[in-house]
């Protein structure tokens, strides 16, 4: 077994030596044709003989208790097979392996609007839904905290995803500085907003549970499911070959999976459940609303002496996840005195959790605008200000950085965008009705390497199979794993088959936190290295002296077909990548720079983004096309987060008011301008075996701030309360 602590890179990786020229190429996603022709089957499309359909029952008040439930009419409604209520295992919402089960086993206690309490099972989805409307619930309501005051935190910096940072004497450094910036920003609730809602088909084979479910991990999910159902994880198989978007919302196991499993057991039939779009808002988690105070203190030349990023977020009771608002801020800029942390207010809201770039997405909307304001006050170009505060090592503890091409991203971005042609004076460029402005912002996303396994089989016919329980949530996993293996073993792409999305395959950490591609690629690369060693032994040479290309092993003036070396027998290797001591010895992140040009209607305040440029350092580029697509999607999310997205909770009832795509606005194609994306490729030897860093969430970090800064440059108006909708601009627009 190629079992290796990452990152060591004491010798050259199998990928560095490879000559097949497949890795990094902009190859179309191999699963694309199946998806556009409908061949790819998603969880709810899976067929099962005699399947029944469930509809989740949810409470319709925001706080209190359920006094009684009358399901008489529902039980006798057409098509209804069963109504399951009062089963202690039925979760209030999504389940996971880090919260305590009591956080979702709420019984008849109502903690938040829309929590699940039962399921109607019927012969059709429509019959189940219609019958669900007949279930009568008598509530004893109590006054809930639906409108938490984020200016009055209750829990001070609890342990979360990112510890608080307190270095130096912040107050002294801040108070004594030549220039001080101090402002408050607020960001609203964001939904993950995946196109495919949470959906599951559950069936039992004796005491084995098989779930076709829409999840970001398969093997990892079995642990959470096991806790929720009080059964052993090795009795559970999760299958998810295709997932219609995750965006963090499918890192937990959807409530419907547990309901379907219980209903399937009770009825003896396979059971399918899909959450309605409105249910997903309440049953799946959202990004918490934040209130962020940003303080920046500099000397007269603009060198940062103190950086404060202190936030308050809302979370429901007993849930552990704390939006890590300062995760990107921690290592972004210089400044010896640092005060960064997140406080919490508990609320009767649905659960908040990890959504698209947790921390950075909302954090950069504050700090990257604050940096823009500080630069202007100091009379510095925003890039120059950032350049002056580029740290050479971690400003927290002096640890070295992995590859960090942030300054190169600024420079190349500025060149491509034409930053030197910018008029820095706000509200000075106008084209007819449109006020034109440009802005920039930095991008950062913590890079995480996680434990991952992959098996590779080189078949006697010279084709390879890579197996791991990773998912492809629309990101390109099928394609990049193929490329890694084809590159490392010298095979043409059509000789590599990728099997993923099944918990019976070797365990990965799934997709999330932008760690999926780099971690699973590392595991695959390590397995390839093992196979290469076996092949080299058969050639009678050292692996380092052998080249694998076009299905041949080349060494010592010989070119031998792999089929000949294999001699009718498959070679198999297990790759196991995991973070090692080196991981903690340096600071790893992906970086980038965003540039945006906006037009703001002088009449109405409507904002239209006209073009964007993004330049990124993501380590090794595994596939130029899928990497670009991920960044593109992230930047468009950035547009949505600054201009549109706003999950609204009614302060009187605690329910989401706009839980559908009609009124929860995300950026449409028409809102997405031409976007120029460029990578400054620098294989990160410290990051992992693949030399690749996270991509998926990087594009969403800072993109919105670049747009906000461009709006200021266009209009002279700063809005710190996101999203920047026209009603917030209109009173400050010029007289028409």
């Amino acid at each position: 077994m190629a079992d290796q602590e990452l990152p060591t890179r004491e010798r050259i990786s199998v990928l560095d030596r490879a000559v097949q020229r497949v890795l990094g190429q902009p190859i179309d996603r191999t699963d694309g044709p199946a998806k556009v022709t409908g061949d790819a089957r998603y969880a709810f499309e899976m067929a099962a003989k005699d399947a029944l359909y469930g509809h989740i029952l949810t409470v319709q008040i925001g706080a209190g208790t359920i006094r009684s439930i009358d399901a008489t009419a529902a039980r006798t409604a057409p098509g209804v097979v069963a109504v399951l209520i009062d089963d202690d295992r039925l979760p209030a919402d999504a389940v996971n392996s880090f919260d305590k089960p009591k956080s979702w086993r709420l019984g008849r206690e109502i903690e938040f609007f829309g929590q699940g309490f039962g399921v109607v099972v019927a012969t059709s989805a429509e019959a189940a839904r219609a019958a669900a409307a007949l279930v009568k619930v008598d509530y004893a309501p109590r006054t809930g905290r639906f409108d938490p005051d984020l200016s009055k935190p209750e829990e001070h910096e609890p342990e979360g995803l990112r510890p608080a940072v307190h270095t130096g004497d912040f107050d002294a450094a801040f108070d004594g500085a030549a220039y001080r910036y101090d402002a408050v920003f607020t960001t609203p609730i964001h939904f993950p907003a995946a196109m495919e809602p949470q959906a599951t088909l559950a069936r039992w084979e004796d005491d084995r549970l098989i779930l076709h479910s829409s999840l970001q991990s398969t093997g990892g999910a079995t642990k959470a499911i096991a806790r929720a159902l009080d059964i052993k994880a090795d009795r559970i198989r999760v299958i998810a070959p295709f997932v219609g978007g995750g965006f963090g919302g499918k890192t937990s196991v959807g409530a419907e999976a547990i309901y379907a499993a219980i209903a399937a057991k009770e009825t003896g039939h396979p059971v399918k459940i899909v959450q309605t779009r409105r249910q997903t808002a309440h049953l799946a988690h959202h990004r918490a609303p934040t209130r962020q105070r940003v303080r920046i203190a500099t000397d007269a030349e603009g060198h940062i002496r103190a950086f404060g990023h202190n936030s308050v977020i809302a979370q429901r009771h007993d849930r552990w996840f704390i939006e890590p608002v300062h995760i990107g801020t921690t290592h972004l800029y210089a400044g010896a005195a640092r005060s960064m942390g997140v406080d919490v207010v508990r609320a009767n809201h649905p659960t908040s959790g990890a959504v698209r770039s947790p921390g950075e997405a909302c954090g950069t909307l504050a700090i990257e605008v604050a940096m823009d304001e500080a630069a202007e006050a100091l009379g510095l170009d925003p890039i120059e200000f950032r350049r002056r505060n580029e740290p050479g090592a971690s400003p927290v503890d002096g640890k070295p950085f992995g590859t960090r091409k942030l300054v190169e991203c600024y420079d190349e971005g500025a060149r491509r965008f034409g930053w030197d042609r910018r008029n820095p004076v706000p509200a000075s460029v106008r084209e007819g009705d449109w006020l034109i402005g440009t802005g920039m912002a930095a991008a950062i996303r913590s890079n995480i390497t996680v434990e991952a396994r992959a098996n590779i089989t080189l078949h006697p016919d010279g084709s390879a199979l890579v197996e791991t329980d990773m998912t492809d949530i629309g990101t390109g996993t099928y394609t990049i794993l193929m490329q890694v293996v084809a590159e490392a073993l010298g095979l043409s792409p059509d000789k590599v088959r990728v099997a993923i999305g099944d918990s019976t395959l070797p365990r990965s950490a799934g997709s999330g936190g932008s760690f999926g591609a780099s971690s699973s690629s590392s595991a695959a690369a390590l397995a390839c290295q093992d196979i290469a060693r076996t092949l080299a032994a058969r050639m009678g040479v050292d692996a380092g002296d052998m080249t694998l290309q076009e299905g041949h092993a080349i060494a010592a003036n010989r070119r031998v077909p792999l089929t000949e070396l294999l001699a009718g027998e498959a070679v198999r290797a297990d790759g196991h990548a995991k973070p090692g001591d080196h991981t903690n010895a340096h600071v790893s992140a992906s970086y980038g720079a965003h540039f945006a040009e906006v037009a703001v209607s002088a009449t109405t305040g409507e904002v239209r983004v006209r073009r964007m440029t993004g330049v990124f350092d993501i380590g090794r580029v595994l596939n130029e096309k899928t990497a670009r697509s991920q960044i593109l999607g992230g930047m468009i999310w950035g547009i949505g987060s600054v201009l549109h997205e706003d999950g609204m909770i009614d302060a009187r009832t605690g329910q989401f008011t706009n839980p559908d795509f009609g009124e929860y606005h995300i950026a449409t194609h028409a809102d997405s301008p031409p976007i120029d994306i460029h990578f400054i490729e620098a294989v990160d030897d410290l990051a992992n075996e693949a030399g690749a860093k996270g991509v998926g969430e990087l594009g969403n970090s800072g993109a919105g701030a670049a747009v906000a800064n461009a709006i200021y440059n266009a209009t002279g108006i700063r809005i710190h309360d996101y999203p920047i909708t026209l009603d917030k601009l209109i009173d400050a627009l010029p007289e028409d």
Binding site: Q60, P78, F113, E126, A127, R129, A130, A133, T276, R278, D433, T603, T604, G605, E606, R608, L643, H644, M648, D650, R652, T653, Q655, T657, N658, D660, G662, E663, H665, A667, T668, H669, A670, D671, T725, L726, D727, I730, D731, L733, D736
Partner: protein
Amino acid sequence: MKTFDYSRADTPQDAVKGGAVGNTRFIAGGTNLLDLMKLQIETPERIVDISRLALNEVEAMDDGGLRIGAMVPNADLAAHPQVIKAYPVLSRALLAGASGQLRNKASTGGNFLQRTRCYYFYDTAVPCNKREPGSGCPAKEGFNRIHAILGTSDACIATHPSDMAVAMRALDTTLVTLKPDGDRRRISIHEFYRLPGDTPHIETVLEEGELITHVELPPAPAGKQAYRKVRDRASYAFALVSVAAIVAVDDGKIANASLAFGGLGPMPWRSEAAEAALIGKAPEREAFEAAADALLADAKGFGSNDFKIPLTRRTLIAVLRDLTEDAA
């Protein structure tokens, strides 16, 4: 979704006979009705499918007007050469609405009958006088950023969501209907919609089983036409404010003005007072401001939609300025 009976009508006469039976809905494109049925906001017992009725022609009329079959899809109507040429305000309004996929399915007749997008109307867990008469209106003191500032009542402050119907109102459209007893009615669009009063669930003067079969546009009016829609994103969003304007300038004076508005009221809004403030006046800022003043004299915000008042004013003035620029 509740179980329902389905039948397909082959002729308008069949359709209205079927539609006259209690709790029946016609379905054409289904782009709004199906969503409402899934949420059980609409719970018809019977559905009469009218999508294959032979009402999909756009024909020139003898008087120079245009007769549009009720089943003509929004996309087709927007792209019709005669509409683009003579009624550009209508084409623009149609293209400003919904998304490409929805416009391919949505019918001309159905577009008039869209239900509001009020958040609370869509949420069966809360009261709504439009959904459950007499239950109450949470919008007045809740989230009302997208709600009406004109024509509201204590019972309801919802807006009518259509873009097309706003242009139709500026164009003095007539709706032609067929009733179950075989009678035909011609209803001016100005009399078609009802203000909410204390019966916000009754939105039009259509009677049970009455079917819109055609829409008639009078000959193209003199003047230039514009449709300006202000919304929160560039596509697939309902109007915060929209203006359909037709303005003719003759000899330095505004000779004719027709102004209709979306996003402001419970129906596509028309303001005779605003038009009167323009006619006979030089196309200058003073007249435009007077028109805005007249339009908004009775405007009332409910908190988060207060911005619609200055927004409407600014948008109307800008539209009028653009339409009369060359003539001034």
